[in-house]
């Protein structure tokens, strides 16, 4: 189902702007609230939704997304309930692409073939699985492509020119450039370095290139949007969820708007990037 992804990037390209890719963790802070957030994201300006599948041991994530995952797991979020979220979202929105992002073990334990069939049926468009490099393509990447799901690969500052073709080979949907050598939500990238890295990747692929890790403010989004096809924001949104919670970690009436207000500001930032350039 890469059609929704292609259509959405084509739309953004037509408007001469970068797409805004928003990450939230499924089931954070609880299943119902995360469905409400999910449903509100497109209206606030999200072009693509990355839905994090919680895992106990997220080795590429910083504290914000680690804690979001633990909040979700505490309420029993699982692969099954995450696919339920996608299904419920799809009932009201058939255009916004959803990419599941997570780690391999919960998918492996669920069963790869069953997962791919259920994900496709639920309305998932693509997958980003952090701990599956090209060397392990037979595990999930190739079966996913066969099942009609996009498999979005991460390219990083350590991915040199020798390695880049292998990284891009079975990538589909878009390429996710990790702006820093590091974990999610940590350092702010050097935007000049990121721009030249994006240009380098674009010489090797016709796919859209989006940039994430360390993008926190509308100004960051604008800076990335100048050269990239999309901007990913994750930890900042997950932090907005956290700061809206009450003393017992429960959602409040401000939780959904805390996320959508930030998404609106980030969308404006992403849209302003090229106008300002």
């Amino acid at each position: 189902m890469t059609a929704r992804i292609e259509a959405r990037f084509a739309l953004a390209r037509g408007e001469n702007r970068a797409a805004l890719v928003t990450f939230i963790t499924a089931g954070d802070p609880d299943h119902e609230t995360s469905l409400a957030i999910l449903k509100a994201l497109p209206g606030a300006g999200a072009d693509v939704i990355e839905l994090g599948m919680p895992f106990t041991d997220p080795m590429a994530d910083g504290p914000a997304i680690q804690q979001a995952g633990l909040r979700a797991l505490k309420h029993g979020e699982s692969v099954t309930t995450t696919l339920d979220l996608v299904r419920a979202f799809r009932a009201g929105d058939d255009a916004t692409p959803i990419v599941l992002m997570g780690y391999y073990n919960p998918i492996y334990v669920y069963g790869v073939d069953r997962f791919l069939a259920d994900a496709r049926e639920a309305g998932v468009d693509g997958l980003i699985v952090v701990d599956l490099p090209p060397e392990e393509d037979e595990e999930l990447c190739l079966p996913a492509l066969k099942a009609g799901l996009a498999f979005v690969r991460l390219a990083t500052p350590t991915t040199n020119d020798v390695r880049l073709p292998a990284v891009l080979q079975n990538t589909s949907g878009f390429v996710y450039y990790v702006s820093i050598a590091g974990i999610t939500g940590a350092a702010t990238p050097d935007f000049g370095v990121v721009a030249s890295a994006v240009a380098r990747i674009k010489r090797h692929t016709a796919l859209p290139v989006v940039v994430g890790f360390g993008v926190k403010t509308p100004e960051h989004a604008a800076a990335i949007a100048r050269g990239a096809d999309g901007v990913v924001v994750g930890s900042a949104l997950v932090d907005a969820v956290r700061t809206s919670l009450d003393g017992d970690g429960r959602a409040t009436e401000k939780t959904v708007s805390a996320v959508t207000d930030l998404v609106s500001a980030l969308a404006a930032g992403a849209r302003s990037g090229r106008a300002a350039a």
Binding site: D57, V79, N105, V109, E135, T156, P157
Partner: protein
């Protein structure tokens, strides 16, 4: 030196994708992939370099104090009334456990690669202490990640590491124990890709770690072969070792895998028992993917990792090295399990009979010797790996036995 593997051997793994059967592999983030490929290349080059082996041999002799003795435990043997029990005395190594064998190899490799900063994860602190020790010896910066819970319960080792010049980072994420320390070490490595060497403490992690650590630990089994030939004129009949990640066990086992007459037993930590909280990944787990490799893991129905429990902080890990997972599936090694109570009993027994206080980890293996030896004939030669000394565990055992120090 280990002899060349024979065709149809159990000793030729892993394959070029780092797999032992379905286990092992390289399940890491893209940022780390170029680093582990570089490590693999450098290790392959070092393996072929006689100077690397000569340097390692020299430090083994003069710094670690190898070979470690293969000691006939006469009083334990008499007490059990069956098999003749030998102890491979890894607890006599500098720093008090087998961990230093691996760390020496990795630090010499780090030096060769020009790395200035070494990171490590530790549970009980034995690997952290060994890493801090070798970093002090070679003038490298050392950062040890340790779960905040373990920092609190292993205070003497934390102080030892600091005295050796290492920075100890208490890990507050997740469950705050060994698996989280490993997550945090991986996060550090992803962040400091240019100058940092990750010194993993056991036969787990992405390829090439499981086989590289095994190679560095195989000195245990190589020496045992030669020593048993000298003492008894033949190979042992059985080998037994405790298994957390499984580095001391694979070090003893690997040189014997192709000797069909040598029975091999690994002992997992059964904690409160297999129906309760435990750290027996093979007995109580299923295949999954964590920390760069596929192996048996303790996890819930949804693939979320569960906490291991063992009285021994060194066995308290929800996984096991991938080569062990494979050796279990093909039936070459039999994996048993031992509860906290059995280990504490064996800890006391060996102390009283032989004047050797074993680490609680090693006491798990001793407990199974106590079970197996009486069922075997007197000419049966059994080797148990005494992987570490128990000084670090004395306060914990005292408390358990109701003595306040």
């Amino acid at each position: 030196m280990t002899e060349q593997p024979k065709p149809n051997s159990f000793r030729t793994g892993p394959d070029d994708r780092g797999r032992f059967g379905i286990y092992g592999g390289r399940f890491v983030a893209e940022t780390l992939m170029p680093l582990i490929l570089e490590l693999e290349k450098e290790y392959e080059a070092a393996k072929k370099d006689p100077a690397f082996h000569a340097e390692m041999a020299s430090y083994r002799t003069h710094y670690i104090g190898r070979p470690s003795p293969l000691y006939f435990a006469e009083r334990l043997t008499d007490h059990l009334g069956g098999a003749k029990v030998y102890l491979k005395r890894e607890e006599l190594n500098h720093t008090g456990s087998h961990k230093v064998n691996n760390v020496l190899g990795q630090i010499l490799l780090a030096k060769r690669m020009g790395k200035k900063r070494v990171i490590a994860e530790t549970g009980a602190g034995q690997h952290g202490v060994a890493t801090a020790t070798l970093c002090a010896r070679f003038g490298l910066d050392c950062v040890v990640f340790m779960g905040a819970v373990d920092v609190a319960r292993q205070a003497p080792n934390v102080f030892r590491m600091k005295m050796l010049g290492a920075t100890v980072v208490p890990v507050q994420s997740g469950a705050k124990t060994l698996k989280d320390a490993m997550n945090e070490a991986l996060r550090d490595w992803v962040t400091n890709v240019a100058d940092t060497f990750y010194c993993i403490g056991t036969v787990a992690g992405p390829h090439p770690y499981p086989s590289m650590v095994r190679d560095f630990q195989s000195v245990i089994g190589d020496e045992t072969r030669a020593q048993m030939q000298e003492l008894e004129g033949r190979l042992p009949d059985s080998l037994i070792a405790c298994v957390g990640g499984g580095s001391n066990a694979i070090g003893l086992f690997h040189p014997f895998l192709d000797d069909p007459d040598v029975a091999i037993y690994g002992v997992e930590a059964a904690g409160f028992g297999l129906s309760g909280l435990n750290a027996a990944s093979i007995a109580g787990g299923r295949p999954g993917v964590l920390h760069g490799n596929r192996t048996y893991l303790l996890m819930d129905r949804d693939g979320q990792i569960e906490e291991g429990h063992s009285i021994s902080a060194g066995l308290d890990y929800p996984g096991i090295g991938p080569e062990h997972a494979w050796l279990n599936d093909i039936g070459r090694v039999k994996y048993l399990s031992c509860t906290d109570d059995e280990a504490v009993e064996a800890f006391q027994l060996l102390s009283k009979l032989e004047g050797i206080i074993p680490a609680l980890e090693s006491a798990h293996a001793i407990a199974k010797v106590v079970e197996l030896a009486p069922t075997l004939p007197k000419d049966h030669l059994m080797v148990v790996n005494l992987s570490g000394r128990g000084d670090k565990d004395v306060p914990q055992v005292a408390e358990l036995l109701g003595t306040s120090l």
